[in-house]
Amino acid sequence: MDGDICATATTPPDSDPARKRRVHGMLKLYYGLNEEGKTVDQAESMNPCDINGTHFDPEVYLNKLRRECSLGELMDQESCMVKQIRSLDSDMQTLVYENYNKFISATDTIRKMKNDFKKMEDEMDCLSTNMAAITEFSAHISGTLQDQHAQITKLSGVHTLLRKLQFLFELPARLNKCLELQAYSQAVSSHRRARCVLQQYSHMPSFRGIQDDCHAIMDKLAQELRQKFRDGGSSAKDLSECVELLLQLDEPAEELCDKFLIHAQSRLEANLRGLEAETDILEFIDRGCNEFVSSLCLVIASYQELFVNRPQEGNLASKNIPHMAIGKLHAFVDAMATCYFSLVERRIQEEKSVGDNSLLVRALDRFHRRLQAVAKLLPGSAVPSQGTEIVVRAARERIQQYLAALQSFYLDSLRDVRQALAAPRLATGKDAPASLPELLSSLSASILNQIKSVMASVQLFTAKDITFSNKPYFKGEFCSQGVRESLVVNFIKFVCQSSRQFCESVGDRGGSTPPALLLLLSRLCLDYETSTITYILTLTDEQFLVQHRSPVTAVAALCGEAREAAQKLLNHYVKVQGLIISQMLRKSVETRDWVNTIEPRNVRAVMKRVVEDTTSIDVQVSLLYEEGTRKAHSSDSSKRTFSVYSGSRQQTRYAPSYTPSAAMDTNFLSNIHKLFSERIDIFSPVEFNKVSVVTGIIKISLKTFLECVRLRTFGRYGLQQIQVDCNYLQMYLWRFVSDENLVHFLLDEIVGSTAHRCLDPAPMEQSVIEVICERG
């Protein structure tokens, strides 16, 4: 027993699963629930020595123990065995006890149940009898009500039908009433509901009658709607309602579109007509925008609502109305816009005054801005791009107008200058040249100012707040091709060209252009070449941020043109002035009888006049042109060179001419002389300085003198007179020219040719000549 207690004490049943299982296993064995234990059995069944196995053979086991174990071991085995047996016994007792209690309570429960079931069986019996009674009653009742129910169902069906029929019969009246009340939409919806039915039963005469009535009424309705639609007085909302109803009445959509558009057209045209009276461009555009463009937008919007964007339902969907409608709308908008644009363009073209450009720009801006609304409403329309084109065209036109304005301004300025040149001469004689530099500076300043103001006006087109200024045209081409090329460059070219024209058209007849003007223009062109052109173009490029994508005229080319013009003008000036002096000389030579002239007593008046004129030309040119370089000459060139020219050489050249044998020498000498002197180009281009200009004029004059002399025949005194004249010219002209040798050479030639053309060549003494010349 001690061992048992010890065992339980040392190994509590819960904490020793192996043992517990064993206990369970034994219990299971006991109750025959050894499914689980079978495997154990199987495993251990064969071992007869397994004390827990089913095949345990005590004898074998004992023998085995006896054989294998020592005495001590056997003793231990024996005591262990005893302990186990004891514990097993106690376990068994506990189990028996527990099971007994359970059995008893189970028995009690079963007994109680037996009693309860008996009671329940009685109640169930009662219930089943009751249910049977109820079923019987129910069947009875339903059997009685069957007939009545069928009748009611039928009646209600008839009622519905009757209601529908009544609707149909009342339909014409109702429609009429609607018509009277102008509740068109109600009428149409009523009719729509009935339409199918009527259609279906139209073979029956009564229905047919109704249908016909309805049709008649609906036709009338449609008529009225159309009338209303046509009248056009109604608001857009009314109209759209009209259209919607008509569409539902199977009215052909195309026709409706057309009518709608025609109606819109008449209104828009009225707007356009209203426009024509306007005077102010801004007002005109404003009104155009407010009336025409907004009406157009409204038309587009309502049209789209009506025909394009409406939910497509039923048979309408199949007709593909939106497609057709959009097409029509585009055509319509294009047509209307074309009318409007032509009006606008005409109006813009009337805008000729170039004073205030901002008005036009603002008008164009507004015009352009409003057209964007159309673009939003009607994507894909050509109208906005056409509008942009109009703006572009207007801008181009504007540039042309500005160019014309600049040109006329320039011509006006020139006329003013001309008058200024002419006027003081009449009034105060010789004061005129004094104002030349002032005239020049005021002329060039006023031109420059004008260009600047024009550029400022044109710049409005590219201002940031103008909607069209970010169009590619206004960013690129307008600046480079438009402003720079068409306006500025063309103007400069015009200045050059018109200046050149002074040389060509008037030149031959002479005189109609005052020489001073030629000189002034020449200086103007030269100034352009040196600075003004560069300045203007730089200014343009800066103000307009010109990006030269397309080739533009180079500054150098323009400068070249200006220089060419300046050169041409100056050349022409020289020619004209030279001609004036030449004419005097020519007349003086041609009209005199040189054979029979008297001995010279003094210098001919014409020579004095030549010197005077040359002096005044010299003064005039010096006002505008620099002095220029001349070859150094001695302190008293007039005397020194003259003595050489008319002294010894003169003698050697002409003295031998009296004998035939010496003729060769004369020519020989003169040719040798010419061989070493440079060829003189008489009407050659001059340089831009005073000396060169005056030299040119003197060259022309003296050459004319020479050629005229060669055509005449002289007597002795004729030659002497020429000698005196030439000496006088020599005294005064050398100071004006760049190379005094030129004057010497030409005068030498004149006297030489005169001697050749002289019947009696007896030259005058140099001293006498000088006396005469100094006497004046």
């Binding site: 029979n596 040719n671 053309r757 019947l759």
Partner: protein, 405 residues
């Protein structure tokens, strides 16, 4: 370039019109001191040698010379005749202020005359160019008749009827144009008709040209800045180009192949080409010279070649293709082409040639008053400057072939 000095100063130059084989020019000299001469300049084309013969023209200094188109030996001159009383040489170099010299009767008159070259001039007075002074007794010209015009003033030029039989000449004297009939031997001249230019001031013809077109019934004259056309049958004016040049008109020439085309030159340094049917505007204007243009001549065969001489001492040869009778260059004859269409295309592909200056000749040292094409060789021309230098030039070979081929 071949040149020759004449010793004396000269203005008058003409080619020997009737001569079609030898290249021969006639030059009249201008000298108040010596006997004037007609120089006959021969150019040997093959050996490139210039030779000169001299005939005496004692009547006076020659201002204009013109050769008969029919008879090689006949020519006309306009010459100055000084009628001054003989001044004794002792007066020369005398006192500076001599007593009033009686010279009021002195007068210089310009006359016209028809001359015949002596038949033996070629053998007799031939000079070698190397020795121009060895002129022992040059022969005289034989005077056929005076174109006596004392009542009509100074003759400025005498014109032969172009391509005529040498029986008609026109002389321009002051403001009269006189048509003369010559007898068979040219020994007598009678005025058959005359025209007078009426107007304000002293009008004077400066130049004239007898048109080779219209059966030689037209004459063009220049006075001051105007060019006038005359109908010789009625001796009346047919057209007048007022202000043809800015200044004096110096010379005229008719295009030998285009009947209405006329060239003129003048003191405005310009050469202008006119279509006389439209006289408002010149057809073309050349402005190449830097001084007065004294002479303009169309080439007789290839009228695009225009020669001008100027007092800037230059001679300019221009190629005025655009207004010539061959604006597309030398057209191939139709016969040479079998296919007509090809011909058509050829013409189209040929661009109108550009007018251009072919060459500027600067050999002269003095004013060039006369230029003339040779009548024998269309590619040869002569120019004469005041200092007596005669220069003969050829049209550049390249251009010649360009025109011919």
């Amino acid at each position: 370039m071949y040149q020759l000095y004449l010793v004396l100063q000269a203005r008058a130059l003409t080619s020997q019109t009737a001569e079609s084989d030898a290249i021969r020019f006639l030059v009249g000299t201008q000298s108040l001191k010596f006997d004037n001469q007609i120089h006959i300049i021969d150019f040997d084309d093959e050996n490139n040698i210039i030779s000169k013969s001299v005939l005496q023209h004692q009547a006076g200094e020659i201002w204009h010379i013109s050769a008969s188109p029919a008879d090689k030996a006949v020519l006309t001159t306009c010459y100055n005749k000084s009628e001054a009383p003989a001044l004794s040489l002792s007066q020369l170099g005398a006192s500076v202020f001599p007593a009033q010299v009686v010279s009021s009767e002195s007068r210089v008159v310009t006359c016209g005359a028809v001359w015949r070259m002596p038949p033996e001039w070629e053998s007799g007075s031939h000079e070698s160019p190397d020795d121009p002074h060895n002129s022992h007794n040059p022969q005289n010209l034989e005077l056929l008749c005076h174109l006596d015009n004392s009542s009509h003033g100074n003759a400025s030029c005498v014109l032969w009827e172009p391509m005529g039989d040498g029986k008609h000449v026109i002389s321009l004297a002051d403001n009269h144009a006189l048509l003369w009939d010559l007898t068979e031997s040219s020994t007598q001249a009678t005025i058959s008709s005359s025209a007078t230019l009426e107007g304000k001031g002293q009008l004077k013809f400066t130049a004239g040209k007898w048109s080779p077109h219209h059966n030689c019934t037209q004459l063009a004259t220049a006075n001051d800045t105007a060019i006038r056309g005359w109908d010789l049958r009625t001796m009346s004016q047919i057209y007048c180009i007022e202000n043809a040049h800015g200044q004096l008109v110096r010379d005229l020439d008719f295009n030998p192949n285009k009947q209405y085309y006329l060239a003129s030159c003048g003191d405005d340094c310009k050469v202008k080409f006119w279509d006389v049917r439209n006289i408002n505007e010149p057809v073309k204007t050349l402005e190449e010279h830097s001084h007065w243009v004294w002479s303009v001549r169309f080439n007789h065969s290839h009228d695009q070649l225009v020669l001008t001489g100027s007092s800037d001492s230059r001679v300019i040869l221009s190629n005025m293709v655009s207004i010539s009778s061959e604006p597309f260059g030398h057209l191939v004859d139709d016969d040479d082409l079998s296919d007509g269409e090809d011909n058509h295309q050829d013409e189209k592909t040929k661009e109108p040639l550009q007018d251009s200056i072919i060459s500027t000749y600067e050999e002269h040292e003095d004013s060039v008053y006369a230029v003339e094409w040779s009548s024998a060789d269309p590619w040869l021309f002569a120019s004469l400057s005041y200092d007596g230098r005669l220069v003969i030039n050829r049209v550049p070979r390249a251009l010649k072939y360009h025109i011919l081929l």
